[in-house]
Symmetry: none
Subunit: 404 residues, 2 copies
């Protein structure tokens, strides 16, 4: 089984081994001004620290030096799909995340419910962060009331809070469209702009939908406008089983990450009710897959809130669950994040992300714990995120020797 | 002189400098369970340690993160031929290794003398590891008795112990053939399978040879079958002199490594009788080449034996020879391995390999010795094996400034 342009001749081999791959979303951080320690370094993580002392540790770069990744590309990279080769739009990831049955050629866009003032300028890009229920109500209104452009199908799905997805289905749709989200307040949403001449008809259709939506939402408050971004046409990806010969199960509480798993051919576990429930799911379904993707969202959420202490607490909550994963005795246990989300910045960042690969085949020798500075001295150095999966496969005896 | 796609515009320049490039085969390892120290870290290596304290040290990745290399690709990488660009089959390397005068288009395959039971299932992939003499006897029997397929030439060469090489010469041969070595016991050898339709005639010819060989060996014990792998047609490679402007001499005790040298246009010294003799050869012929490749096999052999202490001893034997190399006062002395062979794993592995480049132009500053963990903190970081040769050339003042 060929492994892609990354290793033209390397082949995966069958082995009776299991990999548990834990993503602590946004785990990487920056030092607290008072203590000089990052969120991960500040957290009491005795179990991760113990793992790290015997494991291979290092840092990974999600996409490239200095590049801040979105969640989609960052996860693709973790699963061995270099996002510079395997481009995928956020719209497609979101549509998959809400379980929409995309077909090749479908055009998906991610939507924010937003607030605009009487002049049409954006005053809140997230419409005051409505509850999930309120978000669903508004999206249902759009689904009921917005007329579909001629010759197309139009679908709406609520995602979470202010987030929604729009899908257009029809012949010849193009995703060469610029975002309408201006990424700032005080200005109006951008018009839908075609990035190539061939995308003009699609741009007109999408503009028509957004204009009608604006009419439908005129009396609503605070969600009286839509911002669209991440236009993307769906094309089928080769699955992780096809590329790496592993059956995979995704266990994640948020639709977005279930969607990433689905895109790569993973089975998706029933949505867990809590982080602890997610770990129980992995344990209960341990024999069902060679590769378990387990996603924890809160380090990222609390980082985006700018709440250093809450991010520390989110990390500590995950650490307390680590023994249950270790008890499964996976051949390889990977713990990392998809990207950094420093509380001080309140957004994703480009900073390399701590990484731990626990297996019997590590040099180890780290005398500290699991933190950004410990990882910097680790045997893995700073590597590309897309190299992690091959490395995990190697530790799981799932890669043949290259050449004789 | 162009240096390949790796450095599209870098040019080599003439200099009156010499590089001694020492390969301790399979030197990288994993920690001993009792001591936490690897084979290299456990070995008493005062001379390498002294070198390492003033040298530039680091680790190299033979092919790519997580990829375990065979000896051929690993050596190509060390000599600046990235094995992902410069693919070469083991058969060609083995044929060159036994000194067979390959011509472009020749098809070479590596053979194992093996044992099969009455049902035709492999019981020993190495026929009980016969002596070199016994191996030569069986191969001579094949050369005398196996009829040559019509329109082709057929050549047999013993390599070492159970290893041999088969060369077919003729028009239109293809190397798009799968191995017949099943890589496990209890199953029969695979039939010769063409990987593309154009290779069908070659597959039939090779199958004919193997079937006839089976008949010839029917009464032999334990070597009553052949397993073939690494089918490869020979094509001439640009030499190291062509690419890097250096005359090269290979000093190695095993044919395989002489073959790698020959493939890249190196002169090959008379086969040394011992490691000490190999060093004497380099000293005696020091003026004959700009670049001396000196190969030591035993760290790898003892690692593959799973004998930690014997691997330590093999490393110490080499260390004792280092002063004789230092006494030559090479402008650059490189010491590294082609890959790791942890005793605990008994096979090649993907782990980065310790590297030392001694020259007056190093930052140095290492206060430890020459070991995996010391190298991790070294000035070279973790680099690709194919970057070592350019780095050695740079230290030897053999690379022009890139751009004005």
């Amino acid at each position: 089984m060929a492994m892609d342009t990354r290793f033209p001749d390397a082949v995966v081999q069958v082995a009776d081994t299991r990999i548990v791959f834990v993503v602590m979303d946004g785990v990487g951080g920056l030092p607290h001004a008072d203590t000089g320690r990052t969120e991960l370094e500040s957290a009491r993580t005795p179990h991760l620290d113990e793992l790290a002392r015997a494991a291979a540790i290092g840092l990974h770069r999600p996409v490239a030096v200095g590049i801040t990744p979105g969640s989609g590309p960052a996860h693709l990279a973790l699963f061995g799909y270099d996002p510079r080769e395997w481009l995928i739009g956020r719209g497609v990831l979101s549509a998959l995340g809400v379980g929409f049955p995309l077909r090749p050629g479908d055009l998906a866009a991610r939507l924010n419910l937003a607030t605009v003032d009487e002049a049409g300028n954006v005053t809140d890009r997230r419409a005051g962060r409505p509850s999930d229920e309120e978000g669903r109500r508004v999206v249902a209104l759009l689904a009921d009331s917005v007329a579909t452009p001629e010759g197309l199908e139009l679908h709406w799905r609520a995602e979470k809070e202010h987030r929604a997805v729009m899908i257009l289905r029809g012949e010849g749709l193009s995703d060469a469209l610029d975002d309408t989200d201006p990424q700032e307040t005080g200005v109006p949403p951008h018009p839908v702009r075609a990035l190539v001449p061939e995308a003009e008809p699609t741009a007109r259709a999408v503009q028509e939908v957004l204009d009608r939506a604006r009419e439908v939402l005129r009396q609503e408050r605070p969600a009286n406008a839509l911002l669209a971004r991440g236009f993307a046409c769906f094309e089928r990806y080769p699955s992780m089983r096809e590329r790496f010969g592993i059956s995979c199960l995704a266990t994640a509480r948020y639709p977005m990450y279930q969607g990433v798993g689905r895109l790569l051919g993973m089975d998706v576990a029933e949505t867990p009710a809590s982080d602890a429930d997610a770990v129980r799911t992995v344990a209960a379904r341990y024999e069902d897959a060679d590769f378990h993707f387990l996603h924890f969202k809160y380090p990222d959420s609390r980082g985006e809130d700018g709440d250093f202490d809450a991010k520390v607490a989110a990390i500590e909550t995950i650490d307390a669950l680590v023994p249950e994963l270790v008890a499964l005795e996976p051949d390889v246990l990977v713990v990392t994040g998809d990207h950094s989300t420093p509380s001080r910045m309140r957004v994703h960042s480009w900073h390399p992300v701590p990484l731990l690969i626990a297996s019997p085949f590590c040099r180890g020798g780290n005398t500290g714990g699991f933190g950004e500075r410990d990882c910097l001295g680790g045997e893995l150095g700073i590597l590309a995120a897309a190299d992690i999966l091959p490395l995990a496969l190697a530790h799981a005896d799932r890669l043949e020797k290259y050449g004789a």
